[in-house]
């Protein structure tokens, strides 16, 4: 099977797993979906189906732009669907890494549009890079999940931390843009 189809299928399967899990657990008491509606599973279910449809279209066209919306929809389905318990909150870190893996597989599939006779180790290394990145992301996301009760869920500290993170992101992007300026 062509590598492009394999990666696309894996991305769709990964997205389906997130969708199924968030829909299945959404009927539990404590989830946002169950609070809002009697048929709680409908909202994350619909979001997941929409995400899967969009991802399939993005892979078929092929176009990378819908992937942002796909991840956003799956993330929304997860946040709405999971029960408000410590165990599920901890699993959110894994879900974030899982979503990153879905996005990476989808973009990797799109990169195969222009692939020719590539040396096999190129793609092995990329797979390893993605695995390492996802693993590192999950580990980083799990650190604050270790004791969520200790983290202020609102207030000035969290706002300041968020703004600091956004500023850091913008600063790094600016530095990289400077590094990648056209050479004369």
């Amino acid at each position: 099977m062509a590598p492009r189809l394999i990666t696309a299928a894996l991305a769709l399967a990964g997205a389906a797993v997130i969708g199924v899990v968030s829909t299945a657990v959404s009927t539990d008491a404590g989830s946002v979906a169950a609070t809002v509606s009697h048929n709680g599973f409908m909202i994350p279910g619909l979001l997941s189906v929409a995400a899967l449809g969009l991802l399939a279209v993005a892979m078929a066209i092929p176009d990378g732009r819908p992937i942002l919306l796909v991840i956003a929809l799956l993330g929304a389905a997860w946040l709405i669907g999971i029960p408000d318990t410590a165990a599920w909150r901890s699993l959110t870190a894994v879900a974030g890494g899982w979503l990153l893996a879905v996005a990476e597989l989808a973009y990797w599939s799109l990169d195969f549009r222009v692939a020719g006779n590539d040396q096999p180790d190129i793609h092995v290394r990329r797979a390893a890079t993605i695995a390492a990145l996802v693993g590192a992301s999950i580990m980083l996301a799990l650190i604050p999940q270790l004791d969520l009760s200790a983290i202020p869920v609102s207030g000035l500290e969290l706002t300041a931390a968020g703004l600091l993170a956004a500023a850091a992101l913008v600063a790094v992007a600016a530095v990289m843009a400077w590094r990648l300026r056209p050479s004369r």
């Binding site: 992937i67 222009v114 990145l133 956004a166 530095v175 990648l180």
Partner: protein, 424 residues
């Protein structure tokens, strides 16, 4: 190399920022946990990216080849930084094909380590082919950035038509003064017996036919045909080229011209060439091994140049068409200017033979009744054109592209003899 940022970078940054923002607004840190991997990926990608600096040298195993032959291209690449995925694309000219699958090769280029990649191109058609520079596309490790550029220098390939070995070709009605392989119609010193006539003062005694002289009681001498060379001018129609499925009449006409030039030059004939089209090209008749290189070099530059000017043979330099030369026209007999020019040549007394490269092979009739009617009318018009030539004593050889030229020319030789008997 020019850099391009993938939409993936903006998407990841947006997802990470959205997660943080949602966590702030909604008051649930789970949203931040979902966005965090994307922020990590974005920062990692930005931190690791480095503008690559690639040096390359390109080597060809040769720059002149025959149709159907392969050429090996080798590119040696080095980079000052590690490139996880470097794609090298060969701009394959339309008249060539890359063997071994794709014309895009992907490799990992480690910093300060040379990598060599090789590809094989096959020449499918003659011509002067500019070989473009290889295009490079370097990806960073996470696919956030692409760096594109080209390396090396463009090259020019000269692809020569593969000539067909002809055993015999059309012969000229008149010979020239230099010795050659063609039997002259005049009588003189030679090997081939021509006639017997009474002895006159000044005749050489070695030519006396003693048997005839003893029978008649008067001296008779043998007359011989001398072996002379001929002048052959290959007239190439550059006004029309009927193409279909990547093949065209001009492709075959040039191959036939090269085959005939090689054949005539091997027989010590003087061969010249006229490319009659939007741009007039010519080469004075000459003999010798150098002339074949001149001719094929001129032939591979042949192309149809669109022109609406009505030009006749007056534009041809007179010395290009020596008296008593055989003019072999390679034409599709489609353009009125060529048809008239050839008739004009015949009217001026040139020994003309037409090798018609049959365009019918490339003209498929449409499915509609009107299209089929038009196709039949076209066939009738072409038959009428051939008849005009035949009435003037011009032999026409109909040659189907793809078939051997030799048998077609052999048929022309038979017609030629019959024609000379009628009009000689």
């Amino acid at each position: 190399m020019t850099s391009t940022v993938s939409s993936k970078l903006a998407s990841y940054a947006a997802l990470g920022a959205a997660g943080l923002l949602l966590a702030l607004v909604w008051g649930r840190p789970e949203a931040a946990a979902l966005g965090l991997p994307f922020i990590v990926a974005t920062l990692t990608g930005l931190a690791l990216v480095e503008r690559p600096s690639v040096q390359a040298s390109i080597a060809l195993d040769r720059d002149r080849l025959l149709e159907g032959e392969d050429i090996h291209l080798t590119v040696a690449l080095t980079s000052t930084s590690d490139i996880p995925w470097l794609q090298v694309a060969w701009p394959v000219p339309p008249t060539m094909s890359a063997s071994g699958g794709s014309d895009i090769l992907g490799l990992r280029l480690a910093a300060d380590q040379a990598a060599t990649i090789e590809t094989v191109l096959t020449a499918n058609r003659w011509g002067v082919v500019p070989l473009g520079r290889p295009l490079l596309r370097a990806h960073d490790g996470l696919g956030f950035f692409r760096f594109e550029g080209s390396v090396g220098e463009g090259r020019i390939l000269r692809i020569y038509p593969r000539p067909e070995t002809l055993r015999r070709a059309l012969t000229a009605a008149e010979t020239q003064i230099f010795s050659g392989n063609e039997l002259s119609r005049v009588r003189g010193d030679g090997i081939e017996f021509a006639d017997i006539r009474p002895f006159v003062a000044g005749d050489r005694p070695r030519h006396i036919n003693w048997r005839m002289s003893s029978r008649t009681g008067r001296l008779h001498i043998n007359q011989m045909h001398p072996e002379r060379n001929t002048d052959v001018v290959i007239f190439l129609d550059l006004f029309s080229d009927v193409r279909s499925d990547g093949r065209g009449t001009l492709d075959y006409a040039v191959r036939a011209a090269a085959s005939m030039a090689e054949h005539y030059l091997a027989r010590r004939e003087r061969v010249g060439i006229i490319g009659f089209g939007g741009v007039l090209r010519w080469l004075m008749p000459a003999m010798g091994s150098t002339q074949i290189y001149r001719i094929v070099d001129a032939l591979i530059d042949s192309e149809v140049v669109l022109s609406h000017s009505w030009r006749g043979i007056d534009v041809i330099p007179p010395r290009t068409l020596p008296p008593k030369s055989l003019v072999v026209a390679l034409t599709t007999l489609l353009d009125g200017r060529v048809i008239d020019a050839l008739l004009d040549l015949r009217a001026r007394g040139f020994d003309l033979a037409v090798v018609e490269v049959m365009a019918e092979e490339f003209a498929v009739p449409g499915s509609h009744e009107a299209a089929q009617l038009a196709h039949r009318l076209w066939h009738m018009d072409r038959a009428a054109t051939r008849l005009r030539y035949r009435r003037l004593g011009v032999p026409i050889v109909q040659w189907r592209p793809g078939e051997p030229l030799g048998p077609a020319l052999a048929a022309g030789r038979q017609y030629d003899r019959w024609n000379r008997w009628l009009h000689g």
